[in-house]
């Protein structure tokens, strides 16, 4: 997914710092310098000897600013950083088989927690209490720092730790900027860090955004970033939804992501793969306590498509429920109000209408008079996935499916379709879904050769 080099290790340090400063509201400039001073205080804490990194799920603690003192004797400044893995006890959840197949290619992530030591050797200074009388506003917020560093496995530990300390200091500078830029009087917005994957060379870029500010208001900041990294201005890279999802963090909503990534693609001569780009969630029958067995397949396919648009950052709207979908169709005048709460089927045209009404997305409709013709649509589908990359909803016969890609040979015209089947009624079990073909590669015979089909190909707006 990110870095394919086996020997790369991603170190990620996260922690909470207490930001607390006195603001003199009568004086604007003093307020600004108070904030700056407070961040300086946090930065000097990061550079102090009291900084400690705890390697999660291990007994290892490191003092990066103290010559790499650690709780484990064998770890010294010169130790290659990949040796850290020996001390980490991996929590084993989920199927071993699946993870072996896939995780191999992903860089491993070492999570660190940032702590401050409050004890010290030696006497220190005698305790004292100091009373200040001044009318002021005391602003306090927890600041969550989150830095990543990608290292070669053979890099010495000291280099990695120094790099992380530097990254933490830079992040606090960025956070100070963000807080000052978006400040209104005594109202300070909490700065939050996001990591974004760049297409090449596979690095993570960390950006600080203020909490609570809508994406529409951060457009100019994103434009600056697109220019800085030479990225095209036709699709989002730096919206919060585009943040990199670390492989070791489970998705909290429980839906499976990209089950197709666990499949072996078909091997056809002279063929290429044209797949959906980015991340989608697998929506299917019986989820969310909605019993839509037998009628909801197109709704589920539409949900999968909406989840794609949300996770690629095109919309902040959450995936609509069956009711939302039905209401949207009533609102655009396509259906009578009795439609809401019914179990009526919808087709590609309705999917197109809902995407337009709820998400502002336009879609192309492709009509095929006979299922057997689908085999000849290879070029069009390949082109769609190559340029647009959205999942495709296909309805016909009595069934709806989602096409996630094609394997197509321009030479022979042979084609296979990557299908995500919304008719699955079981639980979110990746093994079953891939083994039984609920997400799988199908040949042209999969389609009803005599039925006609409509395909809805959602288009992406040119926006960042």
């Amino acid at each position: 997914m990110l870095l394919t080099d086996d020997s790369t290790v991603i170190f990620r340090v996260r922690g909470m710092l207490d930001f607390s400063c006195q603001l003199d509201i009568s004086n604007e400039k003093r307020g600004q310098s108070a904030i700056t001073r407070c961040f300086e205080g946090l930065r000097s804490k990061i550079s102090s000897e009291s900084l400690v990194f705890l390697v999660c799920n291990s007994p290892v603690l490191l003092w990066p600013n103290k010559g790499l003192q650690s709780t484990v004797e064998h770890l010294t400044e010169e130790t290659p950083c990949r040796d850290i893995h020996q001390y980490i006890t991996v929590e084993d959840g989920g199927s071993k088989k699946a993870s072996k197949k896939k995780e191999r290619k992903d860089a491993s992530v070492v999570n660190l927690k940032l702590l401050m030591e409050v004890t010290e050797a030696g006497d220190g200074s005698a305790p004292s209490l100091c009373v200040l009388t001044r009318r002021q506003h005391c602003a306090r917020m927890p600041v969550s720092v989150d830095c990543v560093l990608s290292a070669n496995g053979f890099d010495p530990l000291q280099t990695v730790c120094r790099g992380l300390v530097g990254a933490l200091r830079r992040q606090l500078l960025d956070m100070e900027d963000a807080v000052l830029r978006h400040r209104k009087g005594s109202s300070l917005l909490v700065p939050q860090a996001f990591h974004f994957p760049l297409p090449t060379p596979g690095n993570l870029i960390t950006v600080v955004y203020p909490a609570g500010v809508a994406e529409s208001q951060l457009l100019s900041e994103r434009e600056v970033l697109h220019r800085k990294y030479g990225l095209p201005s036709d699709r989002p890279y730096f919206r919060r939804a585009n943040a990199f999802h670390f492989p070791d963090e489970p998705y909290r909503d429980g839906y499976l992501r990209n089950p197709h990534a666990h499949l072996t693609p078909p091997s056809m001569e002279d063929s290429k793969l044209y797949l959906v780009r980015g991340i989608y969630s697998y929506h299917h029958y019986m989820q969310d306590r909605v019993d839509d067995n037998g009628w909801g397949c197109a709704y589920r396919s539409l949900q999968t498509i909406c989840s794609w648009f949300q996770q690629q950052g095109y919309t902040e709207r959450t995936v609509p429920t069956h009711t939302h979908i039905q209401q949207a169709l009533v609102d655009v005048g396509d259906k009578e109000s009795s439609f809401v709460g019914s179990r009526q089927w919808i087709g590609s045209i309705e999917v197109q209408a809902v995407l337009s009404h709820l998400l502002g997305i336009t879609s192309k409709i492709l009509f095929v008079s006979q299922g057997s013709e689908l085999a000849s649509k290879g070029r069009e589908l390949a082109n769609h996935f190559e340029t647009t990359g959205t999942p495709v909803m296909i309805g016909g016969g009595v069934l709806a499916h989602t096409i996630l890609g094609v394997a197509w040979s321009a030479v022979s015209g042979q084609i296979r379709f990557l299908i995500l089947d919304p008719h699955y009624t079981g639980g979110e079990d990746l093994q079953t879904i891939t083994d039984k073909g609920w997400c799988g590669w199908k040949g042209p015979e999969f389609w009803d050769q005599n039925a006609y089909y409509n395909l809805c190909l959602p288009q992406t707006p040119k926006t960042i």
Partner: protein
């Protein structure tokens, strides 16, 4: 199936020597450690005479037990607790009465035990956990026959009746208790909403102070604890290795390190800073030395962590309380830096544990010895008092790099501690009598003023 208290032999001797005027009663505290497995008592301390008032003994009412000054015993319990390191606390109360009052003694003991517990829980910065024993011990000794009856009351259940308990003497029980120590750096900034003098009077007590210190206390309590430089699992044994005979062997010492993190925000996270209007702030800086004892029956790492963390919280809150009591007596806090009392240690004869006291800069070891004698009936020599455990000089918190203020000259003179003048020696303790008048400084009773985003 009641509890069994194992008691130091020195306590037996001490209790035997306590004599009462005929017909009168004598109360005191029992100090030790209680855990799920074992209970130990290491010290018995008589309630000191209250200086004030009251008719001389024997002439009070028909029943001297009714006159037992429950409030005074509770306050004494707090003074005693301040002098104890972590892991050791007031476990209960004893009463010596003439034989005819033996029956009534039980209800008095119950009253005392409940009152003491209530009083002490008011100013605690930490909450009791499930592991904590809520049984308190009471001992009744008949002044004629010297027969001792031991019972326990569960303070969690005030309506309960007394349960019988065993009381057994043994020597050297605490001589091998491992001790954990650490030095904690303080760097707290506590905003104060209202410092006007009218409110200072009105304001209350220690729970206001606790409000300001509570956030810090939570960080300490949830902090990571290293023992002798290693991260130990909660249930790992503290003393590993072959079990030597613990009688007469060296006391193990463990160095503790505490690592903290700011607290995670709640799930419904605010997107902006919490802003509070305040009229001042209090900074606490410097290093405090902490010490705790662990009972030696297979102690686990988490017992050590809990004991030392509680000592950390106790020592800081005790000192801040003491300083503020002192300042209130002198007419209110002035702006500027004040030295918090330093902690000194002294060995407790007969048990091998250390006890501690707090000294203000102008006090001498003799002052300490006097207080220890008064509160703990300590009778070792002045030379045994170790005044050097903590540093003597405080960094100038106002001029140095990590300033309390932001460079703005503040109002009011900087009061140095030598200006404070002669302090009456035991005043810090007896000032507690007028509890209501003190410690408004960290009052956050008034509602917080939020400026919304």
């Amino acid at each position: 199936m009641g509890r069994g208290y194992i008691v130091e032999e020195s306590v037996e001797k001490h209790l035997a020597n306590l004599s009462t005027v005929a017909g009168s009663c004598l109360s005191g505290l029992l100090v030790g450690h209680s855990s799920a497995q074992r209970d130990f008592v290491v010290l018995a301390v008589q309630t000191p005479r209250r200086e004030s008032e009251g008719p001389p003994e024997g002439q009070r009412g028909s029943n001297p037990l009714d006159d037992t000054d429950v409030e005074w015993v509770s306050m004494h319990a707090r003074q005693v607790t301040r002098m104890l390191p972590g892991g050791v606390g007031v476990l209960g109360v004893f009463l010596i009465t003439p034989p005819e009052l033996a029956k009534e003694a039980q209800s008095t003991l119950k009253r005392l035990v409940l009152a003491v517990d209530k009083y002490m829980s008011k100013t605690r910065l930490w909450d009791l956990s499930e592991d904590d024993v809520t049984d308190r011990v009471t001992l009744h000794i008949c002044s004629k026959t010297r027969k001792a009856v031991c019972k326990t009351f569960d303070v969690k259940d005030p309506k309960c009746s007394a349960k019988p308990a065993d009381w057994k003497y043994q020597s050297g029980i605490s001589s091998s208790w491992p001790v954990v120590t650490c030095s904690v750096k303080l760097d707290l900034d506590i905003p104060v909403t209202d410092m006007s003098s009218e409110n200072l009077e009105k304001c209350l007590k220690y729970d206001m102070l606790q409000d300001g210190l509570k956030r810090w206390a939570k960080q300490i309590e949830s902090g990571v604890c290293l023992i002798n430089g290693r991260l130990a699992l909660d249930d790992s044994e503290l003393l590993s290795g072959p079990k030597k005979s613990t009688r007469g062997s060296q006391r193990h010492t463990f160095q503790i390190q505490i690592l903290v993190s700011a607290e995670e925000p709640e799930p419904g996270q605010r997107s902006s800073a919490r802003v509070q209007a305040c009229s001042g702030s209090v900074c606490v800086r410097g290093t405090v030395h902490c010490r705790a004892y662990i009972h030696s029956n297979k102690p686990k790492a988490r017992h050590a962590a809990q004991a030392i963390k509680r000592d950390i919280l106790n020592t800081v809150s005790s000192r801040v309380e003491m300083l503020l009591e002192d300042l209130m007596n002198e007419g209110g806090p002035a702006s500027g830096q004040q030295d918090l009392p330093r902690r000194v240690f002294a060995p407790l004869p007969g048990s091998g544990l250390s006890v501690c006291d707090y000294v203000f800069p102008d006090e001498t070891p003799t002052d300490v010895a006097e207080r220890l004698k008064e509160i703990l009936e300590w009778d070792s020599s002045v030379e045994d008092i170790d005044m050097r455990v903590e540093a003597c000089c405080s960094v100038d918190a106002l001029g140095g790099e990590n300033t309390c203020d932001d460079g703005v000259p503040q109002e009011g003179p900087i009061q140095s501690s030598t200006d404070a003048g002669e302090k009456p020696k035991a005043s810090h303790y007896y000032a507690g009598v007028t509890v209501a008048a003190v410690i408004a400084l960290l009052a956050t009773a008034t509602s917080l003023l939020y400026l919304t985003e």
